[in-house]
Amino acid sequence: MISQEIKRGIIDENPILVLALGLCPSLAVSTSVQNGFGMGMAATFVLTCSNVIISLLRKVIPEKVRIPCFIVIIATFVTIVQLVLKAYFPALDKQLGIFVPLIVVNCVILGRAEAYASKNNVFRSLVDGLVMGLGFTIALCILSVIREVLGSNKLLGFKFSPRFQPMTVFILAPGGFFTIAFVMGMVRHLGNRKKGV
């Protein structure tokens, strides 16, 4: 069951590459693997914690004000993340910039809260948060590996190839769009091929 869940989070319902949620941070911070991984971890933390809390409170929260409640819960964890980053990873915090507070409005997190955590028990919500976060992180890493290598000829900050001339466009906005477009297209292409067989 767990492996199935993991497959669901990473492949079948990958938040970025299949569901196309949480696009803003995934494009903005995937300029380097460090940033992408950091953002992925932060989001996973918020996603898992908020999923758990929302699942715990799902019977208490009144239907009408559920969205504001969810947001407050998510925002609390985001603030925690912000404080932790500031304290221990100041460089990363500076890199991610306003996209740390913007985790609040990341559709992945709110979407899972609304679609999953508010309807399932705590354990399932925890697992869901973890696998979805994993899927999010993996997708971010894929994007950032491509962009870092092509855009600055580096991988995790180390020089990648001595001969390759990096294309700066890939760490600029257009490159982000092109990268996600082609990664997504590739995922779909493989998916179509699988379905076709």
């Binding site: 294309m167 700066t168 466009v169 600029l172 490159g175």
Partner: protein, 356 residues
């Protein structure tokens, strides 16, 4: 049941009417009109290629055989990319319509002669592979592929794309010295540090006209581009209004806002001429802004489009971060094309008040 084999009758023994005996083959049933003009898309593209040849010749004369090599690489990369994408998508091969050749030529014309050959190949492949074929090929792209290729290279390799080689016959009279910067960069620098001397630039005009200046392969020779433009105008492939309005707008704006207080002094009159002859304005106005696919289809829209290109070119040249603004201005106006087309629908015959 219906499963048994049905003895099939040959169509010939169930002939419905006697008249058919005189018709050996089935007649073709199509919608009117039954007459068509012979000119086709590939004819048009062929003529565009022909019209680009004088500029290629000029490029080779001023920048040496390397220009020819880059052009060849660019064209080959464009055609191969289109062929590969089409094969990958399992669609019918479209390289026969020659549009990839045109794109390849234009990408090469938009890079300096000093760039490495693989860079131009990347630009061409991007132009065809991303800006054109992802949308489904000819006619479907919304942005000029060649210019998208150039913009991609500009963003990817900014330093290589702005390093220009000197021409074969020495450089601009008077003002150049050692640097091989483009006339527009020199102009901008001269305006910025106050060393502007109208006469220096006046002398340069003839060099600008024939193309003996630094710049991209295909953009320097206004003369060669004009020859190509006349050919296309004569063949009615491009509408006169786009280049005319585009160049006219740049001319007017750089005359009015020439940076001096006067408008009738020598320098005030030299500036607009210098502005229209320098840089890629002629290439852009004659060959890129007129790209049918990415310019408005409506006659009035074409004027708006061209005027917009002119204004943006002027703004980017004067206030922007680049000395040259032609390619970006056309790209930006490409984005506006759907909105322009929408608001400039031609007035239909009969949209008049009814006489009751």
């Amino acid at each position: 049941m219906t499963n048994e084999q049905q003895p099939k009758k040959e169509p010939s023994d169930v002939n419905p009417s006697a008249a058919d005996s005189t018709t050996p083959e089935l007649l073709q049933l199509t919608a009117a009109p039954h007459l068509r003009q012979t000119e086709s898309v590939s004819h048009i593209m062929l003529w565009v290629v022909m019209a680009l040849l004088p500029s290629l010749a000029a490029g080779v004369i001023f920048f040496g055989l390397r220009a020819l090599l880059l052009t060849a690489v660019s064209v080959a990369a464009a055609v191969v990319t289109e062929w590969a994408v089409v094969k990958f998508l399992k669609r019918s091969v479209t390289i026969g319509d020659l549009s990839a050749v045109v794109t390849g030529l234009l990408v090469a014309f938009n890079v300096p002669s000093t760039v490495p050959w693989w860079m131009v190949a990347i630009g061409s492949s991007f132009a065809i592979g991303v800006a054109k074929m992802t949308f489904g090929g000819l006619g479907a792209n919304f942005i000029n592929p060649a210019l998208a290729g150039r913009a991609f290279l500009m963003a990817a390799y900014p330093s290589a794309m702005t390093r220009f080689g000197p021409t074969a016959f020495g450089s601009l009279s008077g003002i150049d010295g050692m640097s091989s910067a483009t006339p527009l960069a020199q102009f901008k620098a001269a305006m910025a540090d106050g060393s502007f001397q109208a006469l220096d630039f006046q002398d340069a005009l003839s060099d600008l006209f024939i193309g003996n200046v630094g710049g991209c392969i295909g953009e320097t020779s206004a003369l060669a581009l004009l020859i190509g433009g006349v050919v296309l105008l004569y063949k009615r492939i491009i509408p006169l209004r786009i280049p005319l309005v585009y160049i006219g707008t740049v001319f007017l704006l750089s005359w009015i806002f020439n940076g001096t207080d006067a408008h009738l002094t020598t320098s005030a009159i030299i500036i607009p001429f210098y502005q229209i002859l320098a840089g890629g304005l002629f290439l852009g106005a004659i060959f890129m802004a007129t790209d049918m696919v990415t310019s408005p289809i409506t006659p009035a829209g074409r004027i708006v489009f061209a005027a917009g290109c002119g204004a943006l070119t002027f703004i980017i040249r004067k206030f922007g971060g680049y000395p040259e603004g032609v390619s970006y201005s056309i790209l930006i106006m490409n984005l506006f094309v759907p909105l322009i087309e929408r608001s400039t629908r031609p007035k239909m015959y009969g949209k008049v008040k009814r006489r009751d």
